[in-house]
Symmetry: D2
Subunit: 340 residues, 4 copies
């Protein structure tokens, strides 16, 4: 860490910073420049926060040199984490690109069963479907709840596809964990730290979605909450961020894929459906996500998007999905991976 | 609502939209333009979602004409909501501008008592202090918890100042509601709908902070969750949004104050401490917030900001706060309000 | 266009809007809803601006139904524009994906000649290089100017590669047009309307880069300036936008590629070098750009990036570029296109 | 400057950085930490660019410690710059808050004369009006040009008010400088470096508007272009930035006022009209701008906003402006300044 002093900082203020840093166990290197002094801190800084110095008299700012996450960092663990889903042969983070597909919401037993069979046929390896839905308006459809989980379980039984579904509250974690093969933490809950710690204590892989205004570093800090609570099986999902551009529903930040692959050993998932918000943009950005190196994709598919209860605008129908899978397979092969 | 058809939409597709809209109880007015057709929907559209039409074949987009919030809208209730804090004479939303002040975190009994007496002396009417802290890093100080609530209660007893403190989880709502006069929902939880519904069921005013990427409309929709759960006493707080600018910690969006005063009858609070993130910017932006029409301000004050356990960089010390109060009083008078 | 009246608009205000619209040649359809009235305008609205109505008493807002660009719109011209570069067999916008490559700045005769031969060998079809450089600091290297153009011309002579280079001022247009095969308008000048009109009058294709805060619609409006001045040969280039994320230098908005391919008939270029700002992210995002459907890529290549006078951080060296071209070729084939 | 090496940087790479830095005249302090090495550079770094190091092998990033602007920095010149307008007693940057007012565009002789007399009567000290208008659409009204300048000059003659008007191209600088008392550089041209250098060479004060995606630091770097070209009389104007929020046309970033007052000695102007985009928000934000410490305000006023040819939505009429001036006067007095 570098503590940058103000141009007019007094020698006493500089000494105060040095004393404070050393009292916290750091070694210090003050460097007197032409206009400014900086104090470099070295040693084990794990428990030293930048705020400690930011607030001191004479300090202009602090600059962090090391990344603030540890367990999720690739420098801590160079080898890729591979997540296996028990009861299936699905492995996420290896050479095979995994496609997870299904509707935004589980709407009925028929809907989820029909979708499950179709996406499996097309090559998907995991079934997605929401039973609890976070909705912007209190007046919108909020999901089938437990009934939805039961339908998902039946779909798994019929198809063999593991299921991924969202959990929104600490209280619901045990129930959802009983049904789901992967627990999803939605974008709105990326920084719901209580929830992160709760899913950190269960024996299920967790897919953590990036918040719409979350930085990549914050996403990794949130993953750190889960891993430091005891659960190493975390998938990170890029699903679009909020920018000034309105041509897309969100700005799908595909750059996050190669950035994350360098920063962390955890598998990276891309969600072009939420990322773009428009069905007609999904195929191009799904192909791009494979080409950029995503380990998995999660794609919204609905047997009748026109009548979907949520997110129909961004859902592919069953035929569109099957055609897309053929394209994705070819792109995967072009970068020496497999898919579907 | 206006449903905009694609340029090449077929007559069948247009008729499907009309049929669907009428089946949902709307009256329809198709308008055939030179290049495009639009279908205007009128009537009670409360239960009709834009998604219903967005996903249909031949539809380009839908345009909402009416705002999606109701109970919080000034068109529903033209008169200002005034929130009274029982056991005190504090009224928020009236002519007097209320200042809430105190430390980011309750750190010790001495710290909160010293601060409480000093901010009361300077004219603050409510004491703030965090007992449960949401922190970006799992390795940072997370607050004193219940002990912090007890210290706050003691400070209230000694000074008569009502207290505002954050509640982060559904489970903690009963406990925090027992101690706090106003429950604060933090920015990271703006869209934690379960939590919003929980605080909607208690008999305490709630201050809802805008998320760092929340739009003003979303803030109102979240307030709608609370009000529609039964709690009319909601304060809305602007505390800075995330933009590309890094000279300030957040971009304090003061424009939200006049926008909200027009859109809603609920009182509006400004938080220049989190809004800017730097102690030296707080006085200018606090004065500006009063001039812009905020009903209340919430300001971080600490007896020793250099050694604060959190947010010291943005905290005023006790003398700086007293001086600021003098300035704010004069600005309030200049716009025919009172303060402190 | 839809003119949305305020909830309390008077009948006189509504009639004023209708009268004004009809005086401008539009037909009007007032629709009286439960809470609000809207007035739909149809007919030829080309010369009617939304501002005309936005400012009128009783008007809440106007909503545009049709896109504001015409000549660049795919609905005006459904077939792809293909841009041919005279004196070469390069065609941009067809089935072959064209790669343009070269250094950020022309630094010396040796540097540009060495690069030109190497990128040609690797399969690039156009040589890039800046002779005039817009620099954030007045104290930075500003390019070789005319000398740089002469070196580029010599490189073209030796290799047969057409050249693309930036023009920054109206006065420089004739000189740059004499040397360049494609004129580049940089991101900072996207809305420099005088410059757009000037390049609209020369007989050279123009590559228009999206500004770092330009919307896709604004990019098309700026292209409209060029095309309406008489130059149909415009390429649109995505090169990263400014968002809150700092892990990448800009947020390369690859979504713009499929959005633009739908909205316009003009060819679309992707610039992963400026888009990401980091050399190690360029290969992944270049592959993704091909997979997403870009018609061309523009990539920074330098024989010695460590000693580049500008943008070395985002430049590939000659070997890295050659390896990347092999990867891009395979991805292009996977989507039934050719490359290099 | 701090050069941060990658965790796995070799000793040779570290030595290369040191050698390079010393060859450029810097002294170096390598600091070997637990996981990483950093090299601190001190001495006169004016001519050393971060790019030089960013591109080198083994370097992760560089961190700038000193601000990159010099002549505009308050550390270079602690005292406020006060700009006097010859032929008047107007001084900008002193204790009096100056209000500049007038229409977006000069539309006719009558319009500008009527406005000039009215705003003078209300207390404005400078008349604004655009003769050359940058417009998003090539099909919109582009200003009266020279005729507009002549009308402005006549208004000055009648009222004694100095005038401020925009110059958009290098070629137009001499003509506009002949008429205007202050040259305005618009937001779209903030980084038009050729234009900045051109107005840097004339003997007229220049008001530089912040680009809609310009950082405060970039604004100061652009002012540096003007000052380093020989013109010290630069005013900096905050006029709203582009964010995700759409309730306002732009996000008026009032925080820029106190940030700039600390960073630079140049006077700071606030433009609440463009900043917010809505007439009904202008009074609140104009009051806030005075309270935040702006040295001047620029406000759009039109005798008949409903029929303005541009920006009527954000223009006050003559009575609204007079009422606002009364409010602003009171707020100025409350912070010990004068106005109007």
């Amino acid at each position: 860490m570098i503590v940058v002093m103000k141009p007019n900082a007094t020698e006493t203020e500089i000494q105060n910073v040095i004393r404070k840093a050393e009292s916290l166990g750091a070694r210090t290197h003050p460097i007197y420049g032409q206009h400014r002094t900086v104090v470099a801190l070295v040693g084990d800084l794990t428990r030293i926060s930048r705020e400690t110095f930011n607030a001191m008299d004479g300090v202009k700012e602090t600059v962090r040199i090391q990344e603030p996450y540890k367990l999720t960092s690739r420098s801590t663990r160079p080898d890729d984490t591979i997540i296996e889903l028990p009861g299936s042969d699905v492995r996420i983070g290896g050479n095979e690109v995994i496609v997870m597909a299904g509707p935004c919401s589980v709407e009925s037993r028929e809907q989820i069963l029909e979708t499950a069979h179709a996406v499996k046929e097309a090559g998907a390896k995991v079934l997605r479907g929401g039973a609890f839905k976070p909705r912007t308006s209190p007046y919108s459809f909020q999901g089938l709840g437990l009934k939805g989980l039961e339908y998902l379980a039946e779909a798994r039984e019929q198809t063999g596809l593991p299921i991924i579904t969202e959990v929104m509250t600490v209280e619901a974690v045990p129930m959802v964990a009983e049904y789901a093969d992967i627990l999803q933490i939605g974008a709105r809950n990326m920084q719901n730290y209580g929830l992160l710690q709760a899913v950190g204590k269960v024996k299920r892989p967790v897919m953590l979605k990036r918040g719409i205004s979350g930085t990549i570093e914050e996403l990794l800090m949130c993953a750190e909450y889960i891993v430091s609570s005891g659960n190493n099986n975390v998938l990170l999902c890029e699903r679009g961020i909020r920018t000034y551009e309105t041509a897309t529903r969100n700005t799908f930040d595909l750059n996050a894929v190669p950035v994350l692959k360098q920063a962390t050993h955890l598998p990276v998932v891309a969600d072009p459906s939420h990322g773009t918000g428009y069905r007609e943009l999904v195929p191009a950005m799904a192909r791009a996500a494979v080409a950029a190196g995503a380990d998995a994709l999660i794609i919204e598919v609905h047997p009748d998007p026109d009548n979907a209860m949520s997110d129909g605008r961004q859902s592919l129908d069953l035929n569109e999905f099957a055609r897309l899978m053929d394209q994705l397979r070819r792109v995967a092969v072009a970068i020496d991976r497999t898919l579907g």
